[in-house]
Symmetry: C2
Subunit: 500 residues, 2 copies
């Protein structure tokens, strides 16, 4: 390896160590920290983040990158070295454009906006959040101004979460998806509904969590390189390729959410556990984008975990653990219940058939805010109108409407669409997987996920951040992200369940 590349790797390794230390501090904050430790912890995380940023955007890193770009000009662009230099240079260029004072201002504004959002949501009063969100949007527009004008100002935001993805691409995908998904929802609404009352009985927390652990162990989540703890919100976090942790929680009024969220987070975690170990401490470690990450979590949660073959294997055990709750409930009835479709107000609780509608609504509002065609003050009204248009329901108040999500308070505009894209990617990969693994259902029926995980490791996980999401999809499935496989998946699944 060239001496300069070695120097770059050393520096980026330090930046990685600092950032992952922040992740450890954050995990501890959410999982273990005594209540009063909050202020000092915030300070410690801020200091480490600041030093990581300083070390990354230093002039000498830019110099090294310039030299290395020259040095590797003729090198195989598919090589790890070329990819590392490319990704590092891209991140460096973006980071250098944003002045440190702006980051500080954004942190202060976000922190106040977060507090205001918590209060506004608890009182269901948008007016409390409104001035803060206006400031947030203003800063987001300022952030966009640091970057060269692209085709669409929203491109800049999208690119932070989904490298290389363009607003026009996302719009085209969603424009194609929307009418098909609305049509499906109408057909479902017009047919005989399925029962799911038994899912909301009292379930023992520990038994549910233990069952979830058994499931993700079967999936192939490696406990020698991870662990699960309880936290207020379920999440996955990576400290190294050999230490990838997940959290779960128990909600008494929606007990099975514990189980599906464990599968979801394990899906994220197995992606991280599968990255090429040679990428440790480089910008190539970790998954390539939020959408591809979400495709992994959604695949294990929904395409596997809410499938009939999965429950053919697991239902007898599950029923033996909860005989009273599931008395008289057949496998098919259970399977229909966990896939029940019902338009609802809250995104995070939405079923597979309605989820993307929540995202499309948000995307349209975000683009409007960034373009300046939608004013913050008009958000609640537009939100409610779109909910009525897409899902046929109107939120009873703003807490269950425009105020439900944390994202905007932190300035994370551009994030939402990755959730929907993740669903599409999961189905697109799934079609390819089914072609490659002909007897996949048989394997799943036997509780055997090794071939499936092996496929994901080989085709997705190992590459980490090496390929941009659209290139990876092209390489693996022969096409960029496209909505058709997801529509086919939903149509087939719900035709069966609802007898369409």
């Amino acid at each position: 390896m060239s001496e300069k590349l070695q120097q770059l790797k050393e520096r980026l390794g330090e930046v990685s160590d600092l950032r992952r230390a922040v992740s450890i501090l954050s995990w501890d904050q959410q999982v273990n920290m005594p209540v009063q430790g909050n202020e000092a912890r915030g300070q410690q995380m801020a200091t480490l983040s600041k030093i990581a940023q300083e070390k990354f955007i230093a002039d000498e890193v830019g110099k090294l990158l310039d030299d290395l770009k020259q040095e590797y000009e003729g090198a195989d662009p598919e090589s790890d070295e070329a990819a590392m230099i490319r990704v590092a240079a891209r991140n460096y260029d973006k980071a250098r454009r944003v002045p440190p004072e702006f980051i500080q201002e954004q942190e202060i504004v976000s922190s106040k906006a977060f507090e205001a959002w918590v209060e506004a949501r608890s009182k269901s009063d948008f007016s409390i959040f409104r001035p803060h969100l206006e400031k947030v949007v203003e800063l987001v527009q300022k952030y966009i101004s640091f970057f060269p004008a692209g085709n669409h100002p929203y491109d800049t935001l999208l690119d932070d979460y989904e490298p290389g993805m363009k607003t026009e691409e996302v719009k085209a995908i969603f424009d194609s998806l929307r009418p098909k998904q609305v049509k499906l929802l109408k057909a479902i609404a017009a047919s005989k509904q399925v029962r799911s009352d038994f899912l909301f009985k009292k379930y023992n927390e520990k038994k549910l969590i233990d069952f979830g652990v058994d499931v993700v162990t079967k999936f192939g989540y490696d406990w020698n390189r991870g662990r699960q703890d309880k936290a207020p919100h379920p999440f996955e976090t990576t400290f190294s390729i050999n230490d990838v942790r997940i959290t779960t929680r128990f909600e008494a009024d929606n007990p099975l959410a514990t189980l599906f969220s464990t599968m979801h987070e394990a899906g994220h975690a197995m992606y991280e556990q599968g990255v090429n170990p040679a990428y440790e401490r480089t910008p190539l470690s970790s998954g390539t984008s939020l959408a591809v990450h979400e495709s992994q979590s959604r695949m294990w949660e929904n395409l596997v975990g809410r499938s009939l073959p999965f429950w053919e294997y697991f239902y007898p055990t599950f029923k033996s653990i909860f005989p009273a709750q599931l008395d008289g409930v057949s496998l098919k009835t259970f399977y229909k219940a966990i896939n029940r479709v019902q338009p609802s107000f809250i995104r995070v609780n939405a079923d597979e058939a309605t989820y993307n509608m929540h995202i499309m609504l948000r995307l349209e509002l975000e683009i409007g805010l960034v373009e300046g065609t939608i004013a913050v003050k008009d958000l609640p009204g537009i939100w409610n109108a779109k909910m009525e248009e897409y899902l046929g329901i109107t939120p009873p108040n703003d807490a269950r409407g425009v105020l439900q999500d944390i994202h905007w308070s932190g300035g994370a505009i551009g994030y939402f669409s990755t959730y929907a894209l993740g669903n599409l990617v999961s189905a697109q990969l799934w079609e390819k997987i089914r072609r490659d693994i002909r007897n996949l259902d048989d394997q799943i029926c036997k509780g055997d996920f090794t071939v499936l995980l092996g496929w994901l490791r080989k085709n997705i996980h190992q590459y980490g951040h090496k390929y941009e999401p659209q290139s990876l999809m092209q390489k693996v499935t022969g096409s960029k992200i496209t909505p058709e496989p997801y529509v086919r998946y939903l149509t087939k699944k719900y035709s069966d369940i609802y007898g369409l």
Copy 2:
């Protein structure tokens, strides 16, 4: 506050944030981390430590300190500002003397020495450890050479753990202590022995740990600013004044050790929880020295936790939890058992009457190694001879002799004496406390520790690192560290127990 002091505090705050982040990473490593996370974690901790050191020893810190020393020349030396500048300057001067390459070399040597020590101890073969220890001693001598020649080369080492303490002082203290403690031990050996068989029956781990939690809650350990977890070794660690954690372990063959070690670690933790919150992120936060720290842990473990008044309050409850184990065991019999004196090979299991003898032995060997009057190859023989001389027993092998402690493998020469000094300090403070709180025993008999903890908070804890240990002792007790109170304490206690 002067602008320069503000700048210094900002920089030292960053250093503190980095170091405490290392503590969090280390705690997680010992408490939670999946087995395979070790390599990445070591790298992360090394990076953070290195950056903390670089930021601390930077030229601009020296410049700020020089300017501030001038600026505060006429200021009240008792002021927090003057103390902070003094402590920072002292640490800075020490840190600047040690070249970064030396620290790296020491880390490499220590890491190998640690591995060799683990193997040597498991095989009870000193020859495996010997060449590594020789290298360690060589480096320790080199380390000493970076500092101005003092009265004794060992002073430099001692000063790292016990600021301001001189070898001659420690020797004088131990020379005075040794004959008195030997005499006491002989008298005990010649008298009727006490039974303790019931302490080694089978005790339920969870019940013991829960009882320990109740005890330290009564002591005043603040769970809103701390927590206890299981770890391979018990320790206390500080992430901020508002997040001070302890760990415990359970040893089936010595079950009550869990209980006493919880009291011990809580003693350390209450010290840290009691430091003036204004010292957060400055060099004045945390306890002033290892000996004063150990005085707090030993006080709660031994002077409180192994006292008769303590068990007058707790024994009825304890016996109700373990009725079978303690059937027919009276309070007095129990009290005698937990204070049973018996010369033994392993320091960490030693009773109060023999513990210091283990330390004196180590101190003499360390001084000999540093002076060059003892060669590493002769350590096992000298060790065994001194064990025979001080405690009348000869280790059956080196694993239970010269190889038992981890300290030397890490280059921590100069550390041991702080354990014994901690015992002396605890008794010296205790005499003063008994004069100030006349009805202390009555309070302890009622399970009320608020006045005791209040005294420690006011006289010791709040000052953190503001006063050097000997100044603090002078200020609080009217005398520097002296062995007499400890001898009086031991003599009185064991005269009662053994009817001397």
